[in-house]
């Protein structure tokens, strides 16, 4: 009889520890996912300056937060797919926001990921023009927007 009681007790202890382990693991997984999300966001925000300063997009190597319109169009045409692994983010979009009548959205890169959160910064968008015998930069105000790679939601 006592052995039977002891066996039940042992089974109860096992079940108790198993439940504790399940709760702990689920908490651990949740915390891991939230840490991952936070780090991805942090990376996207710090990537804004890095991406705008990339020689593939930047006006020249002396001006920060300035994008070259020609380079953006080249990258948006077919080049950015070559860089698919290279981008630390899920999407890179450029908006020409001022003057309003020239508003335009240029998708430089889109990984096709659906669960994306976007972060943006204002930038200058410039291109070189030649007029009256001299060369000058024509610039618009724009926005560089990058999407965070968040874990895909499985439906």
């Amino acid at each position: 009889m006592k052995i039977q009681q002891m066996a039940f007790m042992i089974i109860a202890i096992f079940i108790f520890f198993a439940l504790v382990a399940v709760f702990f693991l689920s908490w651990q997984t949740r915390s891991l996912k939230s840490d991952f999300g936070a780090m991805q966001k942090e990376q996207a925000i710090s990537s804004l300056a890095v991406i705008s300063d990339m020689p593939e997009l930047n006006c020249d190597s002396k001006t920060s937060l300035c994008l070259d319109e020609d380079k953006i169009r080249v990258m948006a045409s077919n080049y950015s797919q070559r860089y698919s692994e290279f981008w630390p983010v899920a999407s890179v979009k450029v908006y020409k926001v001022y003057p309003k009548e020239q508003f335009e959205q240029i998708v430089v890169f889109d990984s096709g990921q659906t669960n994306v959160e976007e972060y943006s910064t204002f930038v200058s968008i410039c291109k070189k023009l030649k007029g009256s015998g001299y060369v000058y930069d024509s610039c618009n105000i724009g926005k560089l927007s990058v999407g965070v790679k968040l874990p895909e939601v499985v439906k």
Partner: protein
């Protein structure tokens, strides 16, 4: 004669035996579980640190500065592994292992974080509590990327008779792990001699540039010899720091990655030149850039010297253009 059997004693012994076996099993399982959990926790922490390393090196890049210097301080001794892959754009796989006072001092590194858009020059594995991060841009002839040099506090260097530009960079950024000319008697210090200066040195740097050499002068192009001349690493421009401060394997791989990116950027500039032509802002760099894009993608560190005159020629042409491409 009949023997008397004490039934109570048998029952008591079996219960105790059963309790001891079951108790010991539970205890062993609990200890095993906790130790596995501890290892998993360490793996998770090390993986997170590697990811954070990728994030915190973003603002530590030179950007538009000539050089940037920063220090990363860990709470305990940390081993950073840098495995470089050179296929296409390539990547640096960074993984971290932290020293622990509980269990084994060092366990396997955590999960590696792949960094595709940075060029991290370091030893394949370095250990220390403080890490120094120094970054400088690489032009070839346009800006290709920022170079990041990562070294631990266990490596101290002394540069003997460096060119003025290198000396100004090191003294200007106040890097504590690199001394200039004033070498102490500390046996662990790595002596880096420029040219034939200094005599007995662990690392020797030789320059061979003869024309259009820029601020680095004769050291704009050359090679670095290490470990009694058994290792030779070619460099151009700011790659000189990478050749001095990193392993040959990591260095060669990163140079190949940089050359591949040089080729990709050349193609982008070539298409951009076409767009500028259509706006009557023409350049005659198209052919040169197309050739550069073609050849540099497959080049390696051994091709640096043959590629450098082409680069200088393109740079000179771009400077003469009214509608310069960069």
């Amino acid at each position: 004669m009949m023997r008397r059997i004490n039934k109570n004693a048998v029952e008591f012994n079996f219960e105790w035996l059963f309790a001891i076996v079951a108790g010991a099993t539970i205890l062993i399982l609990a200890v095993y579980g906790v130790s596995r959990l501890g290892n998993t926790q360490r793996y998770q922490t090390d993986t997170e640190i590697a990811k954070q390393l990728a994030i915190i090196t973003d603002p530590l890049q030179a950007g538009f500065a000539e050089g940037v210097f920063s220090k990363i301080i860990f709470n305990q001794d940390t081993r950073i592994n840098n495995i470089c892959y050179s296929e296409d754009f390539g990547k640096n796989d960074m993984s971290v292992a932290t020293k622990s006072g509980v269990g084994s001092e060092w366990q396997d590194s955590g999960g590696a974080t792949s960094i595709h858009n940075k060029y991290i020059f370091s030893d394949a594995a370095s250990t220390g509590r403080d890490y120094y991060v120094f970054s400088t841009p690489f032009y070839f002839p346009y800006k290709v990327s920022d170079l990041i040099f990562l070294s631990s506090d266990s490596n101290e260097y002394c540069f003997i008779s460096p060119p003025r530009d290198v000396e100004n960079m090191i003294l200007g950024l106040n890097m504590p792990h690199i001394k200039v000319n004033n070498c102490s008697d500390n046996g662990n210090i790595i002596r880096v001699c420029f040219g034939t200066s200094g005599g007995d040195c662990e690392i020797s740097v030789y320059g061979s540039c003869t024309n259009s050499c820029g601020e680095l002068g004769v050291y704009n192009e050359g090679y670095v010899e290490k470990f009694d001349r058994s290792v030779k690493m070619n460099y151009v421009g700011n790659l000189i720091y990478g050749a001095i401060l990193s392993d040959k394997g990591v260095y060669d791989c990163n140079v190949k990655r940089l050359l591949y990116r040089t080729g990709e950027i050349a193609e982008i500039f070539s298409v951009k030149a076409g767009l500028m032509d259509s706006r009557d802002c023409s350049t005659n760099l198209n052919t040169d850039l197309a050739i550069l894009g073609e050849i540099s993608k497959n080049d390696t560190v051994d091709d640096l010297f043959s590629l450098n005159p082409v680069i200088k020629q393109i740079e000179a042409k771009n400077e003469q253009e009214i509608c310069g491409l960069w």
